[in-house]
Symmetry: C2
Subunit: 199 residues, 2 copies
Amino acid sequence: MSSRLLEQLIDAFRVLPGVGQKSAQRMAYHVLERERSGGQRLSDALAEAIEKIGHCARCRDFSETEVCATCASGSRDAHLLCAVESPADRLAIEQATGYRGLYFILQGRLSPLDGIGPRELGLDTLATRLAEGEVQELIIATNPTVEGEATAHYLAQLARQHQVRPSRLAHGVPLGGELEYVDRGTLSHAFGSRSEVPQ
Amino acid sequence: MSSRLLEQLIDAFRVLPGVGQKSAQRMAYHVLERERSGGQRLSDALAEAIEKIGHCARCRDFSETEVCATCASGSRDAHLLCAVESPADRLAIEQATGYRGLYFILQGRLSPLDGIGPRELGLDTLATRLAEGEVQELIIATNPTVEGEATAHYLAQLARQHQVRPSRLAHGVPLGGELEYVDRGTLSHAFGSRSEVPQ
């Protein structure tokens, strides 16, 4: 390698998800050859975001302020609370649905083997919030994986303890999917949860 | 989006090659969730590289110093000069072959429509270098594309003007390739350039 700084930059790019040696090299060369101003912007944005972005005290989402804009907004329905595993999940729901309630971001899922228990997911904060009495329905939108289901089960119990109605996203055949290729578990679930065709 | 800084960071990541909206989101979340120290390192490495990495005055490769380590090294064969399009090509040759000569990095290829002519490729610097009389062979390793071939043709003429022997990388069937799937041009070239099997 011709330059120590270049080597250091390529190495630093590998911290990004899905970026190996070759992509990191390509990124470093691209920035130095054609995008020095964009690279400088990225450097500044990274440093500023890392310094200033923390977690919202209410929903645990990323936020620059003590309480994030969504939680602080008076126009959202405070009776509905949707629990998701990550900020990316929150964003997906926000973009795809017309949901106007609030969110709670777990920042993970229950995984005792990795040392992630209720405390790491901020479930004490969630319990306090449910105890306040304003939330009427807890929409549990964890991923349909083994750990996500276990987390959902735990959250449902927590909700019932505080007289809050727990609900879960519907499972079934994805739109545009073909029955032939849908996995057994999903198909069996979709079959069991069939609904009457409206007139 | 929950945070202006986060939005800005996602946008900044899109400057990287092959990174669209989804990957940029994933990178930003990954850095903020799990890799804040790595992200800080990336920010610093980017800023430092952009500030300090310029071009070597002899070979035009990226370099922190006026003349890069390869050009300054006394242990390389100064009779051989290999012209490549980009620093990545230089690195590929350096890693794959036992070449111990010097390099000249064009930082592009002749492309009149994009306004890239001999001056943009530093061919005046190259001409001066060839005129010095030390170089005996100019190994032309531009890419086998239309523009790369045009550049190679130009470089070969330049070399001959200065009584330097031009050479070109061999074209042919790639190792591990199957004849059936090799494109016509390559196959015809490989057939025409066949060599006698040594005893």
